[in-house]
């Protein structure tokens, strides 16, 4: 080695030993890179899950407004995810959640804009909602502990705006087509969900005073801003629902309903996962949602 100006060592095609990365560093770097690549995606071993739901709805009816008060809740929810280690697998409530599922208390009103076209505005206080970002590493890079965060007691505030349009498919209006489009802004999480729901219903029994209403609906949700306020491909749906059910009109404004829905949710990325991995994933979650609904109407 010769010395150049100012005593600086001169090199010729060989890295000075002082600038070589130490072996331990390279090993740690390799280990960390390996751990980032290995960040697990959610796996739902108990799918399709069964998530019974109960809905209580109170409608107030006037010529133009139909205020609504609703209480809804899932009695159980299973959101087990892949555990990377024995520690995570044993943490019931993080990886395998069998607890009170999503619930909400909603209040607002429908407003008749034009004949058969209604606007809706509602506020909801909700808990137990699940977001992409809930898929997290509760451990460390060296000892990861991946799972779903608890959310049953996490209160969130939502604002819903929607439009509902209905038309009769035949002159007596026994068969009705409904199309509902809505936007749900989660103020707490800064997410905005979009919904589209076409549906068909038929009145069974006496015309004008049916004993029951049968219905079938398809519902699709998009969640364009999944987390950290970053947009995801708007064309990718977040959730799909298929419903079928019946509402029995018992008189005095009381209706009792039962329905069965199939729900498919696509989970894609989370901040925690993204910080420790590259690319994207899509984990599908299926659930059967049997529901019991009680509706009461009060004329104003």
């Amino acid at each position: 080695m010769t010395r150049g100006k100012a005593g600086a060592p001169r090199t010729r095609g060989r890295v000075p030993r002082t600038k070589r990365l130490p072996g331990w560093f390279l090993g740690a770097l390799a280990a960390s890179l390996l751990s980032v690549e290995a960040a697990p995606v959610p796996v739902f071993t108990n799918a399709p899950a069964i998530e019974p739901q109960v809905n209580l709805r109170l409608f107030f009816e006037s010529a133009r407004f139909q205020p609504l008060l609703e209480l809804s809740g899932n009695l159980s929810r299973s959101m087990d995810g892949l555990a990377t280690g024995a520690v995570a697998a044993s943490r019931l409530g993080v990886n395998s959640r069998m607890e009170a599922g999503p619930w909400h208390l909603k209040a607002g009103t429908y407003i008749a804009i034009f004949p058969r076209l209604y606007g809706g505005i509602f506020y909801s206080l909700a808990g137990g909602l699940v977001h992409d970002g809930d898929w997290s590493n509760f451990g460390s890079a060296a000892a990861p502990d991946w799972g779903w965060a608890r959310s049953a007691t996490r209160l969130e505030h939502l604002l819903t705006l929607d439009l509902t349009w209905r038309t009769a498919l035949e002159p007596s209006a026994r068969w009705v087509l409904e199309i509902k489009a809505g936007s749900v802004w989660n103020v707490t999480e800064s997410t905005n969900d979009l919904k589209l729901r076409p549906g068909l219903s038929v009145q069974v029994g006496e015309l004008r005073n049916p004993v029951a209403t049968l219905f079938a609906q398809y519902e699709i949700w998009w969640r364009p801003y999944r987390f950290i306020g970053e947009p995801v491909n708007l064309l990718l749906p977040w959730e799909n629902w298929v419903y079928a059910g019946a509402l029995f009109h018992l008189g005095d404004g009381v209706s009792l309903g039962a329905s069965l829905a199939w729900r498919h949710t696509s989970w894609r990325e989370s901040a925690s996962w993204r910080s420790q991995s590259r690319g994207a994933y899509e984990a599908g979650y299926d659930a059967l949602v049997p529901s019991l609904t009680l509706v009461k109407r009060i004329s104003l």
Partner: protein
């Protein structure tokens, strides 16, 4: 709403009620705006105590209501937004033939005792009823769907009403029961509708409130206007 002329024919025994308008008919109570349209085209404000003539049409405004007493003591309570024509109500050759025509809205009818040969007819859309009771309520409903014919609703407070629609199938409606004739075509089976219990049947102002404010727009469920979630 307009009627399609089909006759409701009533016959039966009722209580004889004294009339304040011997040889005539007249308004015994009114509230809000009520007009009387004469056959000659003249229109005047209805006044309590003033007689009505055959051929007069009583029309109540959005806030109006009236109780009409006929010569035989029968009473008719006209709700807001209603039009009732008094086609005929006088004694002819010893028999009383009362003919009324409900052109829109709703009317309570309390029919006096009929003698031999007497007839009481209420003409409304697409339903024919042989009334065997003393009190019944008739109303035009809404028009659902693209149909041009309105629904007809009828319920009975006392006695029995025999109803026929265009299909000529006769249905007996008992006290406390009601029927609907969707688009005026077929009479539904009688049943005890909850809303009929809320009707105010009182036609005697001295006994209390006579105005009936039962929300008739909710007589039936239009699936296009009903939210379930």
């Amino acid at each position: 709403m307009r009627s399609v002329p089909i006759w409701l024919i009533t016959l039966l025994t009722m209580f004889l009620m004294p009339s304040a308008f011997a040889g005539e008919a007249g308004i015994v109570w009114l509230q809000g705006r009520v007009e009387v349209h004469s056959p000659d085209g003249k229109v005047r404000r209805a006044e309590k105590g003033k007689p009505l003539s055959e051929g007069d049409t009583v029309r109540s405004g959005a806030d109006g209501a009236a109780i009409i007493e006929l010569e035989d003591g029968s009473r008719l309570k006209v709700r807001e937004g209603s039009t009732l024509k008094l086609t005929a109500f006088k004694l002819v050759e010893g028999a009383r033939k009362t003919t009324l025509e409900l052109l829109g809205g709703s009317v309570f009818s309390k029919v006096a005792k009929l003698g031999a040969g007497d007839q009481f007819s209420l003409q409304a859309a697409t339903a024919i009823a042989g009334v065997r009771g003393t009190e019944f309520f008739t109303s035009f409903g809404g028009k659902v769907g693209a149909s041009a014919a309105a629904d007809i609703w009828l319920c009975v407070n006392e006695g029995t009403v025999e109803v026929k629609a265009t299909d000529e199938k006769s249905v007996r409606v008992k006290a406390g029961e009601g029927i609907v004739v969707p688009e005026g075509k077929t009479v539904t089976p009688p049943k005890a509708y909850a809303w009929t219990k809320k009707l105010n049947w009182n036609m005697e102002p001295e006994k209390g409130e006579v105005r009936d404010r039962t929300p008739l727009e909710k007589l039936y469920r239009d699936a296009r206007e009903t939210h379930y979630d």
